[in-house]
């Protein structure tokens, strides 16, 4: 990149970048401040005198305590974690196998099936939630974690398959052929040679699948009804708003704590996440 004098770099690069970062991160800062701000300070009108919205001198844990004592927040966290983990594992299993078949095997209709996977990749959850709710009820899965564990793979598998196809295609054919010449069966060549090479891809798909299931909302909202079965996003939405009254302190505390597991997983695997994200848009 060709760059000029220092002042130009500040005007054209550094200041815009700082503004971007500020706007993108401010809502999270606001979440944190609200979590630790006592109610007395929270509900002061925006034009009150001596109002200092960006900082508090009396931090409190009352909102976090409220969350754990008055709601089933711990249970929601556990539910979300459990559902996200199990549906991720199921989707990875299916996606890795299907991705391998579509990328490396010759069989009739392979091209058509690849297109079909791509099309399901593009089906949004909001297209099917009403008939799916009926089906879940007919299968007697309503109000149980299995309603979500079995339906989340519908948007996770196409994604994992698509991403894994890209990774598998990049592995040279010779690697497999060598193993076959040495006498490995097709199955063993796949399990012991190709899949280990594709581990970075599996990690990337797994992390993105995990964040996607943690983020899912409409299925969880429609399929679950009792407070102890809910996931964090649904629990926070339905139990911390009573009629028109918003419990902003606990709401922000719930939003903050509910984001932490995803943020931790993300922080450990940033590079994998980014490579998965960029891989997912490669045609």
């Amino acid at each position: 990149m060709i760059e000029g004098a220092l002042w130009r770099r500040w005007i054209f690069y550094n200041i815009p970048l700082i503004l971007f970062v500020f706007v993108l991160l401010f809502p999270f800062y606001w979440m944190i401040v609200t979590t630790f701000r006592p109610d007395g300070e929270l509900y002061r009108p925006w034009n009150a005198v001596n109002y200092m919205p960006f900082w508090t001198n009396n931090p409190t844990l009352e909102h976090i305590l409220y969350l754990f004592e008055e709601t089933r927040f711990a249970r929601w966290m556990f539910n979300t974690m459990f559902i996200a983990l199990v549906s991720t594992v199921i989707s990875l299993f299916c996606g890795v196998l299907a991705g391998y078949a579509l990328a490396r095997l010759n069989f009739p209709y392979a091209g058509g099936l690849g297109t079909a996977i791509f099309i399901t990749y593009l089906v949004p959850q909001t297209l099917l939630f009403i008939p799916l709710a009926e089906i879940i009820r007919n299968f007697r899965l309503g109000d149980s974690p299995w309603a979500l564990i079995l339906t989340y793979p519908t948007f996770l598998i196409p994604f994992c398959t698509w991403l894994m196809m890209g990774y598998f295609k990049a592995i040279p054919k010779e690697l497999e052929e060598c193993a076959r010449i040495d006498g490995a069966s097709r199955w063993k060549a796949m399990v012991y040679i190709i899949i280990p090479v594709a581990v970075p891809g599996i990690l990337s798909s797994g992390i993105i699948a995990f964040t996607l299931s943690w983020n899912e909302f409409i299925y969880a909202l429609v399929f679950l009804s009792s407070p102890e079965q809910k996931t964090v996003p649904v629990g926070v939405t339905s139990e911390l708003i009573r009629g028109d009254v918003f419990f902003w302190g606990p709401l922000m505390a719930g939003a903050l704590l509910g984001s932490i597991p995803v943020a931790i997983v993300y922080s450990f695997f940033v590079e994998h996440y980014v490579s998965g994200l960029t891989g997912s848009v490669k045609g």
Binding site: M1, I2, E3, Y13, P16, L17, F20, V21, L24, P27, W30, T34, W46, N47, L97, A98, F107, L113, I119, P124, Q125, T126, L127, L128, F129, I130, P131, L132, E134, I135, L150, T161, D182, G183, A184, S185, R186, Y192, I193, F217, V232, P233, V236, T237, F246, W248, L251, M252, A255, G258, S259, V262, Y266, V270, Y273, V274, L277, T278, V281, K282
Partner: protein, 309 residues
């Protein structure tokens, strides 16, 4: 890595089932079965059920019978549905333009070497990682009519004298929702476009610069055409997600005030789940399908044209 070569004697001892998997067609069938079962059961079957449901008069607790296209006729004449269709296109169009422009700008800002680049890139993706519902609540609190920090800031800067009721006015509510969607989508655009930018060789820029191209010309004649394939796919994904969006509007306004900010999904939810008119809800959801279908086909054709050019 494990030692995997099998001796000749060992390979003879393969069970009949494993020997069958030596045939690529059988192996492919075995590998694709779990995926086919799950997707068939929870995508193809619900789609089929959804079509049947939208052609019936089913309500909660009432199985309903076949009524033909009556539901579609009804929503065709429903003024809220008209608003919904308009809102969805407006929302999708405006946010996509802004997400692309700002995302590209941010990607260009990040496409240099500077200290702390990795950390900034990691932090920038946060709006995209954090569950949408949870971050949208933070925005809702920022847009609160009485306690809005945005109003406070504008008031302190002397830009306003009375409060702005962000979510009470239909146009302002829609604008607020659009702002939040852009906020959430820009990181995705920036990071994926950054990956595209990094595949463009700097030598091309240098060559253009030596030939006397101004920075803007270098962008327009070198960067933009080379970035086109990635841009199109990113836009395709974003358009579909935005068109079918639910969470953001559900949390911010629930479709209000007075049904002015509904998208397809929130209106389908309100009718289908809220009031129990399953068949009409299913019809509204399915009404998205032709639009999505056209968007996908047009985009895919265009992508193919750009890639084979």
């Amino acid at each position: 890595m494990a030692v995997t070569a099998l001796s000749a004697a060992e390979s003879k001892r393969l069970s009949p089932r494993l020997r069958k998997l030596e045939d690529e067609r059988w192996l492919a069938l075995a590998l694709l079965t779990p995926t086919a079962v799950l997707l068939g059961l929870f995508i193809a079957y619900p789609f089929f059920e959804g079509v049947l449901l939208s052609l019936s008069n089913a309500r909660v607790g009432h199985p309903g019978e076949f009524v033909g296209l009556k539901n579609f006729y009804k929503i065709w004449n429903d003024s809220i549905f008209h608003t919904t269709v308009w809102n969805t296109f407006w929302y999708t169009g405006v946010t996509t333009v802004f997400k692309l422009a700002l995302g590209l700008w941010l990607a260009i800002l990040l496409n240099r070497h500077f200290r702390g680049k990795a950390i900034i890139r990691a932090f920038i993706l946060l709006p995209f990682i954090i569950p949408t519902v949870l971050s949208t609540f933070a925005w809702k609190w920022m847009f609160d009519p009485t306690f809005s920090v945005i109003n406070w800031t504008l008031f302190q800067l002397g830009l306003i004298t009375t409060r702005i009721n962000w979510l009470g006015d239909p146009d302002l509510a829609m604008t607020s929702i659009i702002v939040i969607n852009i906020w959430r989508g820009v990181p995705f655009f920036a990071i994926t476009l950054l990956a595209g930018l990094q595949t463009i060789s700097p030598e091309l820029h240098e060559a253009a610069a030596i030939d006397g191209a101004r920075p803007w010309q270098r962008f327009w004649h070198v960067t933009w055409p080379l970035l086109m394939p990635v841009t199109l796919v990113v836009v395709l994904f974003s358009v579909i997600q935005t068109f079918a969006d639910f969470q953001l509007v559900y949390v911010m306004t629930g479709g209000g005030p007075a049904n002015a900010t509904h998208l397809f999904a929130t209106y389908a939810y309100q009718l289908g789940i809220g009031t129990g008119l399953l068949s009409e809800g299913a019809a509204i959801s399915l009404a998205m399908f032709p639009f999505l279908f056209v968007i996908v086909v047009v985009q895919l054709l265009y992508i193919r044209r750009v890639e084979t050019r």
